[in-house]
Structure formats: structure tokens, C-alpha cells
């Protein structure tokens, strides 16, 4: 099978596999239902730094270093790091890469950066441009609130459709061959904009983008939803996830039995502070790299599809009355039969 399946789906025929994964989280994520799955749990949102931006950079560095440590490698062994985050000029990724000194490609897909960076890293490894590549991303609740909405000190009210940006970072190392979990397909999304303008209702805005990419993936690969043990979206949360299920039903696919959303898995369901669920690059990265890959190693899941969803708005565009362009990128993970 060739690399190119369609204009948006890639097949990784050169046995691309996950070598290791590392996650680092803030206190709230550490206290959540998946708390024990994360490698590093910081007990303070500042992580001992002077600002939240510095804290996010430190969390990202911690997750990358943990990934290398688990693989028994050092930075010099890695050809390329592809990383991104939610902040202007993707400062967390660039400043972490300044410390780590691996050749760097910055990626931005808002909350879809997790699978966007992994798809690109897998493609570089598959084609042989890299032997080993790291894909990483981070988000921090307080930096994201400041960037996209209001500084938390301002105390602006939020509606129940709002989501809580996760504090944390997830990284994976991919290479060819070995015994790890295989990365088989990536389906990259196109931008879908259904005209939603409310930055406190990103789940509804992103659900159609997730449906568009999922439909393309199923069509391109000839697979059915039931071919996956689990299909997860990144951060559609309580409002967007049911919309995706019904959009897929309209297209003749029943995904509910195989479907979950990372934004609904990261925090306790009874936590009022998270509103409809988690968001941010870290939502999909933490749940996938921290929890789901381990579930695959434990034999609970053999085929996994992660659809990371992103809302590509900026504060400027929504203040100027623009709607929210959304995207979703899918990556398929498989355990050898």
C-alpha cells in the first residue's frame, strides 16, 4: 500500500511505532480519574516559576525529557521535534525547544496540535527523513484563559457550555520498527466553519469538523466505526460529543458504542469548575499518551482512533465578529495482532 491513500489520508507503511510517551500535568489533572496514569504530577500551577507562561514551558520540557528518559535516549539521539501549544507565536514549544536543542518544527492546530504534530512526525519517520522524531504539545489553563478569554483575576462569568483548558503536556517518540504500538494512518482535516461565534461554546463549533474528518477517514480506509475498539475526540466535551454522535448517525454511522471524548475523561464528572469538560492541546495528548496507549499495552484496546479537534480562532477574530474555523486531525493506533 502506498503512503498516499487520498489527498487527506496517509498510510504509514514503513512500520512506524511509538517508542515511548511522557506526560506531565498540573494538580487538577493529577487529582482527576486518570491521575495515576501520568508520569509527572506538579502540585502547583506555577510549577515553581514566576509566571504561568514559564510554568507551561517547564511542564512541556518535563514531558519531553520523560519521553526520552523512558526510551533510554538523550536529545542528541533525536532527529526532530514537532511541537506546538495554544499561545501566540507558540512560545511554550519554541522556548522548550530552545532548552532541549533538538531540530524543531513548530506546529499550530489549536487543540488539534497533538495529532497534527504526531501525524507529521510519523510521516517524516515513515519517509525516512527522520529516524526518531518527537511529537509534543502543551496547554495551561491560566495561560489559555489569558490568551483567549479573560485573565482569571478578572473573574468573568462563564456559561455551562464553557470548557476548562487542561494544564499539562504530552509527548511521544516515534521510530521505525521495534515492538511498540503502530501508528498506521493519519487523516488530516480541512477547515469546517458552521458559523458559531461563541468562544464559550467550542464543542458545538468543533463537532462538524470532527464528523468531516471521521467520515473522510472511514471512507478512505474502508473501515467501519466498529473496526475500532475506541474512537476518541480531543475536546468536544459535554456539548460537542452528543452532536458528533448525531451528525454521524445522519450519515449512517452508529459510533456511540465505540466512542468517547478525552475532554470527558480527564476530570471528575462532578467537578463544577470544568463546566462541560476539558479542552486544550493537553486534553487529547494527556488522555491518549498517558492513558489510552497504556490501555493498548495492557491489552484492553487493540485499535484506537484519536480525532483531535481544534478551534482556530484568535481573540482578535471573535472580537471582530468572525465565526470560529474548526479542524480535526485523526491518527490510528494499532497493536500487532
Amino acid at each position: 500500500m502506498s503512503f498516499r491513500v487520498s489527498r487527506q489520508t496517509w498510510y504509514f507503511s514503513s512500520d512506524v511505532r511509538i517508542r515511548s510517551a511522557g506526560t506531565a500535568v498540573g494538580p487538577k489533572e493529577g487529582n482527576g480519574p486518570l491521575g495515576n496514569e501520568f508520569d509527572i504530577v506538579f502540585d502547583d500551577n506555577y510549577v515553581g516559576e514566576a509566571t504561568w507562561e514559564k510554568a507551561e514551558k517547564k511542564i512541556l520540557e518535563a514531558s519531553i525529557n520523560k519521553t526520552l528518559e523512558k526510551a533510554g535516549l538523550v536529545a542528541e539521539d533525536i532527529d526532530m521535534i514537532l511541537a506546538g501549544d495554544l499561545l501566540n507565536q507558540i512560545i511554550s514549544a519554541t522556548f522548550a525547544s530552545r532548552t532541549i536543542q533538538i531540530p524543531f518544527i513548530g506546529t499550530y492546530g489549536a487543540c488539534s496540535t497533538s495529532m497534527l504534530s504526531l501525524a507529521q512526525a510519523s510521516a517524516l519517520v515513515n519517509a525516512g527523513y527522520c529516524n526518531l522524531a518527537v511529537a509534543a504539545c502543551s496547554s495551561h489553563n491560566s495561560t489559555a484563559e489569558k490568551q483567549y478569554r479573560y485573565p482569571t483575576e478578572y473573574g468573568g462569568q462563564k456559561p455551562p457550555t464553557a470548557q476548562y483548558t487542561a494544564t499539562g503536556a504530552g509527548s511521544v517518540l516515534v521510530g521505525r520498527g521495534g515492538t511498540g504500538i503502530r501508528v498506521t494512518y493519519a487523516t488530516l482535516g480541512k477547515i469546517v466553519d458552521m458559523g458559531i461565534k461563541n468562544p464559550f461554546n467550542m464543542g458545538s463549533a468543533m463537532a462538524p469538523a470532527a464528523a468531516d474528518t471521521l467520515l473522510a477517514h472511514l471512507k478512505d480506509t474502508g473501515r467501519k466505526p466498529s473496526d475500532y475498539d475506541l474512537i476518541v475526540t480531543g475536546d468536544l466535551a459535554g456539548v460537542g460529543a452528543p452532536i458528533l454522535v448525531s451528525l454521524m448517525k445522519e450519515q449512517g454511522y452508529e459510533i456511540a458504542p465505540y466512542y468517547n471524548d478525552c475532554g470527558l475523561m480527564l476530570y471528575r464528572k462532578d467537578d463544577p469548575e470544568v463546566f462541560s469538560g476539558a479542552s486544550g492541546c493537553a486534553s487529547s495528548a494527556l488522555v491518549t499518551y498517558g492513558h489510552l496507549l497504556k490501555e493498548m499495552e495492557r491489552g484492553k484496546i487493540s485499535r484506537l482512533l484519536v480525532l483531535a479537534t481544534g478551534a482556530l480562532l484568535s481573540p482578535l477574530t471573535y472580537q471582530q465578529g468572525e465565526s470560529i474555523p474548526c479542524i480535526a486531525h485523526a491518527v490510528a493506533f494499532e497493536v500487532d495482532e
Binding site: N45, W52, Y150, P151, T152, Y154, G156, N198
Partner: protein, 122 residues
């Protein structure tokens, strides 16, 4: 009775603000400016001898209308008009912050001291 009226009228202004947020989907900044402008407009409407509509509301509801942000609009207009009466047209410019300067300065000064002592938790 005085307290009860203050509570209900003040509460009604807050309900109006909440509706602007939830139903009209205005941003918090738009809600604030809407209420300030509303207070200013009400203070520009004469009601009886030497009184404005907002003054009448203060007589009726007391702190119920002096505590919400609408009273800031009332104070802006009051300052401007009284200075205009004393110094002519230029007083409109110099008088705007006449009555509100204490509130604005206090916000800046106390905000500064609070920022020295406290650190946001996220």
C-alpha cells in the same frame, strides 16, 4: 422597608445585567458600559425641580441604585453638569471626573497594593 426596596431595585439592575450576559450574549465589558450609559442617560432626564430621574431613584431605593455600576454614569453626568453650571461649557470636560475621581483613584491605588501582596492562583 428601606433595606427591602434597596435590595429589590439593586437586584433588578443585576438581573438586567445577567440577562444581557445570558440572553443578549453581550460580553462583560459591553454589559458594564451599557449599564454606565444607562445610568448617565437616566441622570440626564430632568424630573421635577433641580432633580433628575436618577436622583428620584436614589430617593426611592437608596443604596439599591448607588451601589450598582449605573451610579457611575449618574456621577459622571452630575459632575459634568455642576461644573458646566459653574464654569460654562468647558466645565463639561473638566467636570466629568469631578465626582468619580475618588472611585477611580481608589481602584488604582488599592489595586496596586493588592497586587504587591497577592498572587493570582489561576
Amino acid at each position: 422597608m428601606e433595606y427591602l426596596i434597596a435590595f429589590f431595585i439593586g437586584g433588578l439592575i443585576c438581573v438586567f445585567g445577567q440577562l444581557l450576559l445570558d440572553v443578549a450574549k453581550l460580553t462583560p465589558a459591553h454589559v458594564m458600559t451599557t449599564l454606565v450609559v444607562l445610568g448617565a442617560v437616566l441622570d440626564g432626564i430632568p424630573a421635577g425641580k433641580d432633580d433628575t430621574l436618577y436622583d428620584k431613584l436614589i430617593d426611592f431605593a437608596g443604596a439599591g441604585v448607588t451601589v450598582p455600576i449605573t451610579s457611575f454614569g449618574h456621577a459622571l453626568v452630575h459632575g459634568a453638569i455642576s461644573e458646566a453650571e459653574a464654569h460654562g461649557i468647558i466645565g463639561i470636560i473638566t467636570g466629568i471626573f469631578e465626582l468619580t475621581s475618588a472611585g477611580i483613584s481608589a481602584a488604582i491605588i488599592f489595586g496596586f497594593f493588592a497586587s504587591l501582596i497577592f498572587r493570582p492562583k489561576g
